[in-house]
Structure formats: C-alpha cells, structure tokens
Subunit: 342 residues, 2 copies
DNA sequence: GTAGAAAAGTGAAACGTTTCATTTAACTGC
DNA sequence: GCAGTTAAATGAAACGTTTCACTTTTCTAC
C-alpha cells in the first residue's frame, strides 16, 4: 500500500508539500505540484480515507439507514436522494439493518444521517443527534434543533379515501393495519377510525404487518365468515395486493364484492388487475428534500424546516363502483403516478 | 466527542486497559473491565471508527457498487446480499454512482467489493483487486485470482426464447438492444443473432439503452413503417414494457400483432396486461452467492469459484399465440417468480 | 545591492485507536 | 517468606493523514 510518504520521496519533496499538492491547498509551486501528481499517478496512490477522516473529522458522506431493500417502497426515495447527491460532491452510503448494531451510524462514519428504519430507537436518535451530526427522520415524530422530521401527511390522503368510500355509499368498512410500531400505520389507522367515528361507523381492525402475505391471510380469515365488509382499507399496497389475491382465489371481485384501497402507490398498484386505488406521495421529492435540508445544515447550519410530505388519494378500479358505465379511458395507459383524469 | 482517553480517566485506568476491556482482548481483571464498561456507558462513548480502522486495517465491511437504485432490477440482488450479511458480523454498505469518483471503493473503506456498475472501468477493477481486496464482478467478464465473475448465463435463456418463437412460426424478428457497453446486452444480442443466423434469418437491431422510454420510442419508430416484425426480443423488461405501451397506443396487441419478449423477470413483467414473456434468473441467490464467496475469500482465502447464474425462459401471454384456446388457469394468480405450470 | 515582502517549502504535532514490550502486582508451591 | 510463575496493568509507538508554525528561497522596488 503506497502512502503519501512514498509519493513524497518519489517526487523528492516533503510530506507536507505532497499533501498540499494533492489537495490543492497550502502554497506550492506549479512545478513541484506537477511532480507530485505524477509521482502519485505512477505509484497508483490513493489516500487512506481513515487517516484523512481521522484528521479532518469530516467525511463528506451522508448515510441513509433503512431496514431493507425490498418492497418497492424505498426505491424511489433512494433515487431521489441519489439524484440530489449527484449534484453535490458528497458521497452516499446506504446501510440496511445489520446485526452489529449499526456501527456506521454509531461511529459517525458520516457527516449526517437520514433514518428510515424503525429498528433504530428514538433514544438512539436523540442521543446521537447534535450540531455536528444532524439527523433527518422519515418514520417518527421526533424533533429538536438537530433532528428534522419529514413525515407523510397521512391524514390528508386517508380522509380523501374515506370520503371516496363514504360518498359511494360504503358503510360497512374494515381496516387492515400494518406493523404496530410504525408511525405511519398508527396515523393512518387513527385518521380512518376517527373519520368513521364521526359518521357513527364502527370499523373492525385486523392486525397485519405490511407484508403481502399478512394481507392475504387476513383476507382468508375474513372470507371464512359470512359477514363480509363492503370495503377494506389496507395500511399499505402490499397488504392490499395480498388481500386481492385471496379474494380472487375465492372468486370474489373488487370493487363489487369488496372494495379495496391501499396506501403508497407502489408501481404494481397501478398495473394490477384490477388496478388498486391507493394513496400516492411524491417519494422522489421526499428524498431530495431530506438531502437538501441535511446538507444545508451541515454546510451552513441552516435551521431545519419541518414539513409534511403531501399525500393524495388516487381512485382506481378496485374501489370505483360502476366504473365502466362512466368514461373509462385514460389512466391505465399513463405512467404509474398519474391519477384518474379529472 | 468522548474518546477512549476520557473513558480511561473516568474509570481510573490506563488507555490500554480501557482498550482491552472494550475489545475483550489482552488480559484484564474482571473488576476493572466492569468499571471500564460502565464508564463507557455513562459517557456514551463510541469508538472512532476511523482511528480504529486506521490501526487495524480491517473494516469488517463489504461494499456494493451499483449505478442506481431504480429499475427494480437490483432490488432482489440487494435483498439477497443483505440477507446473507445478516448472518455474519459484517457490515454492508451500498454505494450508487457518485460524482467524486467513488472514494469509498478507491480508498478501500471496505474489505471487499461487489461491483455491478459499468461506470467503473475494467482497469480500475484490475488495478484495485488484490489478495487484500478481493472483488466480485457481476457485469463483466473479468477474472483473476482476486476477481470473481458471477455472470448470468444469458445464452441459455435467450436460446430458449428463440426456440419458443421459432417453434410457433415466427420468422420476422427484431432485436431491441440495451446499452452498448453492457456485457449482458452484448451476450444476449450475440446469442439471439447467432441463433437467427443458424436459421438463415436476418434480424434488424434497434439501439436502445435499457430504459422504458427507449423501448417506447423504438416501438414508435417501428410502428411508423408498414413493415412490422412478427416478434420482438427486448434486451430487458423495461424496454419491453415501453414497447408494449407504444403498441397499445397504436391499437396493437401482443402477441397477435407483434409478440414481445423481455429479459429479467422484474415483478411488473408478471403483472402487466398482457403479462410479459421474459427470462428469469434467481437474483436473490445471485446476491447471496456473491457475498458468500467474497467473505469466504476474505476470511480464509478460499479460492474463487467462477460460475454462471442460470437463466430460464418464462413463457407468458405476450408471446404465446392462441393462449386462450389452451388451458389457461394458473400463472396469473401465483407469485411473480413462478413460471407457467408445466 | 539591499531591505522587505511574498512565495515555496519543511518539521513536527495531532487526530483516536490498537498493540508490543515492559513493568508491577498477585498468586503459587515449597 | 521466597523464588518462580502467572495475571494485571501500563507507556509509548504506530497507523497515514493534515495543518500549524516556522524556515528558506525568490522576487520586488528602491
């Protein structure tokens, strides 16, 4: 492993000179700079990042902490994050959950973090966040000078969905919940139940965990009974997909037998048959917003601006009664994100 | 920032003792170890990873280098990689392309790398790989003692697809190519053209770049002419989706007007209408294999075992003529990866 | 030609760990 | 109670950079 010492020797200058030349800092003659750079090239020198970071105490890297890669959900957020990173000279580092208690995060191998993983406890986030280590959280309602919550505006989308169902005359509703420890699940459920309450409707809640299989199994259980709901709201699309699969196996169809609504607008929701009504959100921008604010804080200590990420109900086949008696072109041929024509 | 020095002082021991206690190394009394650990806890101490790695020259981390997160393609590979990592005490670090020439990789902030990004040049990989820095490549045919290529068996799947088309009587074929610099694209194209050649068929090639929009635009161009192909092979599913979208807009249907085949078996391919015939591959296992071999090399210098990742043609609606006159249950209700019932 | 200023270059300390080589303390068995 | 061992604890060097404070060289203006 060649070090800066080797480069300096090879170029016949001091280590300091070599360092200045390589970093374009300090004060150094054009001729020697050239010599140093050539020596570095020749020796295939690459600075040791650990030594450098140890000294500089800056890594120029931001870390994103997610639970896993699957599920189509993070994808677009990550793309947004990545796209903004490309415009900066920051490095991006994505860490899924790992056994060894997230050394990367704890050991501050990054200058700031974006946290989207409920396995990381609130206490950890609180303990870690500081002027020198700002954190953006996207999955919990935590806030101080160094912690920026960027949360979905769940109530908005859920209300729209509820109205949509109510307006069409659905009264016998059910709610399929996601993981208990999820902020989003809690808020979606609370909003839906509150809306129902206001209309004097009682809504049974079935406990799932955001996976397709849990939606499938809940549906199986429900379909055993002879007392079916008219419409089901699932806390995310995966579960809605599972629910629909079970319905199909029982020879039932959405929306006529049971209307189904999901949440997230993952690409599949648009392409399924029937297409799934869901609540969409600008995930790409969600990601860019997070990075923008984070880097702004790191570089200029710009105070964090908490904001809610808008959500919007997207009516599709799985919950629109008599769709085919109405105009029904549009939608299916457009991109995944497009709503029904107004 | 509390350092080990603070911990040592607080516990009333030497720095060395603190280090030994914290790392469970050296020789240290049970009582003092306790005291040190308590002090560390109390001061909320976390070792500085840079200092540590600088000294130890091991990071216990493996790095995955991909071009981007989107496209549904990497997702399952990353899940495989992640799932195996969880069984080890290694850390995982995923880096998408970034402006600053991939410091992470170059600066060896990881103990080994998995490269799946054509923007990283062959020369770089060759220069970098060594006994102390093994590299698995998944997107290029590069090999030596320290570089393990894990490539798709493109020829297998492409041949099956070709036979499938040929057997149904399709003779007027076209090939929609992906990015020029892609190994997979090259191999898929070469195989397809070679098969065609053997049957004295001439196949025009349209140059795309793996994106949906490129497939869409190529289709638009083709559909202008009055001389349509009978079947089109797209080098990946994204382009096939774009192609089908354009066809729909022209009021054409697959497979009757033009049969369409893709490659990759991304989840959408299964759910589209019509479902898309494609070539599937065990991406999850692809990821686990990469990690397994990499860590085995790092820990035991187990020699790399190059192997091809199997591929398999999955016939679906977009290329099966008269499907509905045959048995046609199954498939659509199964999970995305399941092939047609045999 | 010289004083003074600017430019170019250097030595050494520091970043926070780990670990080698030593010293000191605590046990043995007789 | 002592020599010999083993256990426990320590000081200091090292990892590869960057950067401060300083010295040497070169330039400028008179």
């Amino acid at each position: 492993m060649t070090t800066i010492r080797d480069v300096a020797k090879h170029a016949g200058v001091s280590v300091t000179a070599a360092s200045y030349a390589l970093n374009n800092t300090g004060t150094i003659g054009e001729a020697t700079r050239k010599r140093v750079l050539e020596a570095a090239e020749e020796l295939n020198y690459h600075p040791n990042a650990f030594a450098r970071n140890l000294k500089k105490r800056k890594t120029h890297t931001i870390g994103v902490f997610i639970s896993r890669f699957g599920g189509s959900f993070y994808e677009e957020i990550l793309e947004g994050i990545h796209s903004l990173i490309l415009d900066t000279d920051y490095e991006l580092l994505v860490c899924p959950e790992s056994r060894s208690a997230r050394r990367i995060l704890l050991h501050r191998q990054v200058d700031g973090a974006i946290v989207f993983d409920s396995k990381i406890s609130d206490e950890q986030v609180l303990k870690l966040a500081s002027r020198h280590f700002p954190i953006v959280v996207m999955d919990r309602d935590l806030q101080n000078d160094f912690i920026l919550p960027l949360l979905l505006d769940n109530p908005q989308g859920v209300r729209e969905a509820f109205w949509h169902l109510h307006q069409q005359g659905f009264r016998k509703l059910a709610f399929v919940a996601g993981a208990m420890d999820s902020f989003d699940n809690a808020e979606r459920m609370a909003t839906f139940l509150a809306e129902a309450e206001r209309h004097d409707l009682h809504v049974p809640v079935y406990q799932g965990n955001f996976t397709e299989i849990s939606g499938y199994e809940i549906a199986k259980a429900i379909l055993q009974s002879d007392d079916l709901p008219e419409a089901v709201f699932c806390a995310n699309d995966q579960m809605a997909i599972g629910f629909l699969r079970a319905m199909k196996e029982h020879g039932l169809q959405a929306p006529n037998d049971i209307a189904v609504i999901g949440f997230d607008d993952i690409p599949l929701a648009h392409y399924m048959q029937p297409s799934i009504s869901t609540i969409g959100t600008p995930r790409f921008e969600w990601g860019t917003t997070a990075v923008r604010q984070l880097i702004d804080f790191i570089e200029n200590e710009t105070p964090f601006q908490p904001q809610r990420i808008p959500t919007r109900f997207l009516p599709r086949e799985s919950s629109i009664l008599n769709l085919h008696s109405q105009t029904s072109t549009g939608e299916t041929t457009h991109g995944p994100a497009s709503p029904a024509p107004s």
